[in-house]
């Protein structure tokens, strides 16, 4: 394997076939994709093109029918379930369209969830003070100082998405995957969330893989890929520039 050092994610010949009863439906027809460290990549395309499916495969949530996904230089889909779970925990941050916060936990607890999953009870107890501080700082920097103890139902859509963003960033993963993060928000609220997202990406020089329908948004990404019926159309093969 000749993996370029600064490639954080490398997908090759990803195929995904869904079986519903007797009919087989091929959603992804062999997708290649590279993501370089610190790069901002927008994935666009009509609804039903297979963007979410691709994100789930790359995010190690859905096994591809064929193809490989290398994360951190390892072929993720040939690892054990446990190792793959650790990769999701440490290397990947997810932001979904519908926030997906845990209703029973307050904002701070939701943000700390990745650490809770990563650590045993005693480990977590020992570092709890640090976790709490980090979660509060993160929420405060997202303008949620007054919302620490609020539960998801007590938050607005924009606030929820900011909590979800803080959660995705909590363990400082090198790779952030966002599937239409503003799709469920009004324009102004969405803008604010995106500002935070881009700012966090820039500050931490994360690789961001962003699915969006918003052309203006795509313009602010270093590279734009268009997806059509399970294929990436007019892909720029050359490594992306890091410029805004």
């Amino acid at each position: 394997m000749t993996s370029v050092p600064n490639v954080v994610l490398k997908a090759r010949a990803i195929r995904k076939v869904f079986k519903t009863g007797d009919t087989e439906l091929e959603i992804l027809h062999g997708v290649d994709l590279d993501l370089v460290a610190g790069e901002r990549l927008a994935l666009m395309g009509p609804s039903g093109a297979g963007k979410s499916t691709l994100l789930h495969v790359l995010g190690l949530l859905e096994r591809p029918t064929a193809g490989t996904v290398d994360i951190d230089g390892r072929d993720a889909w040939s690892l054990t379930t446990l190792e793959r779970a650790a990769l999701r925990n440490r290397h990947l941050g997810f932001v979904f369209q519908f926030y997906h916060l845990v209703a029973e936990l307050d904002a701070v607890e939701n943000v700390m969830l990745p650490a809770m999953i990563a650590q045993s009870s005693s480990e977590f107890r020992r570092s709890k003070a640090a976790h709490l501080k980090k979660a509060r700082d993160l929420l405060a920097s997202f303008g949620l100082s007054e919302r620490m103890k609020h539960r998801p139902t007590q938050l607005s859509g924009g606030e929820r998405q900011r909590v979800a963003l803080a959660r995705a960033l909590f363990l400082d993963p090198p790779l952030l995957i966002a599937d239409e993060p503003t799709g469920n928000l009004d324009r102004d609220t969405g803008e604010k969330v995106l500002e935070l997202l881009f700012r966090a990406q820039a500050e931490r020089s994360l690789s961001l893989l962003l699915v969006t329908h918003d052309e203006r948004l795509a313009e602010r990404c270093g590279r734009v890929l268009r997806m059509e019926a399970g294929r990436i159309a007019g892909a720029k093969a050359e490594p992306a520039s890091l410029a805004r």
Binding site: G59, A85, E104, L105, S121
Partner: protein
């Protein structure tokens, strides 16, 4: 970390879980309470099943050509010679018909509705010998006895008659008083007669009652002096000497010094030595009281086991409640399962998370159920009295059950087993939805729907 934390949080934030906890609480509490009362009843029954029985019972069916001693003396002597024996006494048992009326009319025999007549077990005893071998004398609470322990004749009776001591229920059922006359009828083998049997009938005077606590005995046992019974059966009058061919005894009751330790050994050795000495023959049998009441004790044990199995169904029902609630919860929490997976949870972690919810249910329900159930079982009698007094309805009829208080025996082992059973049951039932949760497709739950 998240498994314990989240399971506890899910449990607390979802009120439906309280139903499951309450179900287990109820099941465990009720099981302990009911089983304790059942055990109490059974132990009480077992105690009264022993009743007038002694530790060892030697039965000697009387028949004409038996080549063993006709008198109980030699056998009693041989038995009492054993240092492990506390005492021994001879009994003579005979089935009789009891009637209050001294009439020979056919009417009482053909009237199926008549309460004037009853079958009874007439038992001949030597009152003095009974001291050492049975609890018989203690049960003779209201009987008139002289200082030698012999049953006294009632002075109101005109001519001397043999007196009897009847079971408390016999007394009540036939509306007898001390000094009442009863007529006993029976048949004895008689080679001289056409049928081989000849009928006997005699009046006795009631000297008192006894209470054994065992319904069957108090309802149909009548005690009489053994030699008087022998005279009755032989056709001799009360004052005559006992005829030489009279049947004198049919069983010997033996009380041991240490029943639980030595019963089996003594039974074996005593039986062998009596047989060797020619005091008993093949028709005789020497049994412990437990062997004697084998069927009853077996039935009691059976009942206890059966009861346990049936009551365990409550646990299954409680477990099923957990199953239903958790299944609902897994469906409700599909999205959360997806999130947790996306954040790095493994299927085993998700499995553990939902198993833990069941575990908390079991922990809270079983512990509180065990505490309340045990407390109720211990306090059931005052509790029942309070209920009866407060609401004026009698829940436990102390006359019917022959017990003065509701018997209840709490056995730590049973409590432990019930709690363990609750845990196993809950976890088994929780395992099914937990397994389902672990195998949910996280993506399906996360798709924008």
């Amino acid at each position: 970390m998240y498994r314990v934390f989240l399971s506890w949080r899910f449990l607390r934030r979802r009120r439906t879980n309280l139903i499951g906890v309450f179900g287990i609480f109820l099941a465990v509490g009720a099981l302990i309470l009911i089983l304790s009362i059942m055990t109490g009843f059974l132990e009480e029954t077992r105690r009264s099943a022993r009743g007038s029985l002694s530790d060892l019972i030697l039965t000697l069916p009387p028949y004409k050509d038996a080549r063993r001693p006709r008198e109980p003396g030699p056998i009693l002597e041989a038995i009492r010679a054993d240092p492990r024996v506390e005492g021994a006494s001879a009994h003579l048992g005979w089935m009789c018909i009891l009637t209050r009326q001294d009439e020979s009319s056919l009417r009482i025999l053909i009237d199926s509705q008549s309460s004037e007549i009853a079958g009874i077990k007439l038992t001949g005893v030597d009152a003095n010998d009974e001291k050492g071998s049975t609890e018989f004398l203690e049960s003779l609470d209201r009987v008139g006895r002289n200082k030698d322990g012999e049953i006294e004749y009632d002075s109101t009776v005109g001519r001397p008659r043999a007196s009897v001591v009847v079971g408390e229920k016999v007394m009540a059922y036939h509306r007898l008083r001390r000094g009442s006359f009863i007529t006993l009828m029976t048949a004895v083998p008689d080679p001289g007669s056409d049928t081989g049997w000849s009928a006997k009938k005699r009046e006795f005077v009631v000297a008192g009652t006894f209470r054994s606590g065992e319904n069957e005995i108090d309802l149909e046992r009548v005690y009489v002096d053994r030699e008087q019974l022998a005279r009755f059966l032989a056709g001799a009058s009360e004052d005559d000497p006992v005829p030489s061919d009279a049947i004198l005894f049919s069983e010997v009751l033996v009380k041991l010094k240490d029943y639980s330790g030595e019963a089996e050994a003594v039974r074996e050795e005593l039986g062998a030595s009596l047989y060797k000495a020619g005091l008993i023959d093949e028709s005789c049998s020497l049994r412990t009281w437990e062997e004697f009441r084998g069927t009853l004790l077996g039935a009691i044990e059976n009942e206890r086991v059966l009861m346990g199995i049936m009551l365990s169904l409550i646990l299954v029902v409680a477990g099923f409640t957990i199953f239903a609630i958790l299944s609902m919860m897994v469906t409700e929490k599909r999205r959360d399962i997806g999130i947790l997976t996306a954040l790095g949870a493994t299927p085993n972690g998700v499995l553990a998370l939902f198993l833990l919810i069941g575990f908390w249910d079991a922990l809270i329900g079983a512990i509180s159920g065990a505490v309340i159930g045990t407390w109720m079982a211990i306090k059931i009698d005052p509790f029942e009295r309070w209920l009866s007094d407060t609401f004026g309805v009698q829940i436990f009829n102390r006359d019917v059950y022959l017990f003065d208080s509701i018997p209840s025996v709490v056995t730590p082992l049973a409590v432990g087993l019930i709690v363990l059973g609750a845990f196993v049951c809950t976890l088994v039932f929780a395992a099914i939805p937990a397994w389902r949760a672990a195998h949910l497709d996280p993506v399906e739950a996360l798709r924008n729907d």
